[in-house]
Symmetry: none
Subunit: 216 residues, 2 copies
Amino acid sequence: MLVVEDEVRLAAALQRGLQAEGFAVDVAATGPAGLDAARHGGYDAMILDVMLPGLSGYELVRRLRAEQYWLPVLMLSAKDGEYDQADGLDCGADDYLTKPFSYVVLLARLRALLRRGAPERPAVLAVGDLRLDPARRRVTRADAEVVLTAREFALLDYLMRRPGQVISKIELLDHVWDASLETAPNAVEVYVGYLRRKLGRDRLETVRGAGYRLAT
Amino acid sequence: MLVVEDEVRLAAALQRGLQAEGFAVDVAATGPAGLDAARHGGYDAMILDVMLPGLSGYELVRRLRAEQYWLPVLMLSAKDGEYDQADGLDCGADDYLTKPFSYVVLLARLRALLRRGAPERPAVLAVGDLRLDPARRRVTRADAEVVLTAREFALLDYLMRRPGQVISKIELLDHVWDASLETAPNAVEVYVGYLRRKLGRDRLETVRGAGYRLAT
DNA sequence: CTCGGTGCTGTGAACGCGCTGAGGACACCG
DNA sequence: CGGTGTCCTCAGCGCGTTCACAGCACCGAG
């Protein structure tokens, strides 16, 4: 369970309460940190405050859905206006609770979300004739399967979620290689080379001095 | 869309409003009528009042779930006590709205429910010539029975619910082995080995660095 | 053209993932 | 109390993967 909440007292209370229910709970205090944690995956569901430093809960869930992450999201907000609520849900949240809320209700709604579970969505990324299915961990190029190693797959996955954008080697090291300090930026060049060999030379463009871009 | 509501004016208003949104709407005015209609199937979701003649909304949804109907249920009630709400959700409803409610919010919540969709729970899992009957606890391969131990069965069960998808050892430990912290990931490897021996070498694919996949 | 910087790639070594056989712990049963 | 079956740990092995390194190619500026 992932809790994204910047009020320290509330976050701690939620963590304690949920742990008592048997959940493994991680807490993130800012929008960007929450987004990263959610991307990193492995959570059954997410409790998300709307007012967050760095990135609002609305925007967070919108990006998450745009990037094909479908974990259940329960949104928390002090705003009880009907349109606030509708906006939150239409951004992609699955439930919306206004503060102050009853802990009993929160738990019941969480159970309902988990029961329902995350559906297997059209979780297939497609760029040109390239297709990548994160769940099946399969990549095809013009309907022919391409076999990738774990690192190659993670790299292509990251690039395909932002097709056409230039992504720096540092950013790739941060997100595809977890311990970025340990690894030399050259490793990125090496793996881009591997991908080019398997996918075709001109699929990955080099932007000198800036990074790489996946051709659309 | 199925609306189960005995207040005629509210039911008519809901029907009109939802039809304006493009839903095909049927209305049932009593508990038993609602249950029958839901059983008959074909609805994407259901809006269900709690106070109904003949059969309460709680009981209705409980029976529905017991009979393996999984359509999304949005529960409506005049009771706004926290325990009323928790009870409704724990009976199997997916969302709970207290009267009076905002029509905008109702619609947003309905959209969220439909987006998420109803999970499928087939009685017998079948993948290729492999069949697994959870109720009878039997597995056959090309109509020949395969004898599995409890752990082997649980593992295959989990894998067969998501054929073709890659499932990590950690996830398997979490769901097939309850106490994941206690058990080494190697146990998964061992049991995959057992299953391969009993089911055939290439039924279970190893995806190095990621997990295992049941060949479709 | 020259030159510095940036990116590409072949080589090779170390690492660590996953597979397996052996065997201990435990429960159940005759 | 020994036999049987299941569960799981452990250690060793094979091999694919990862990544550092170094030399080379290429690009753009002067």
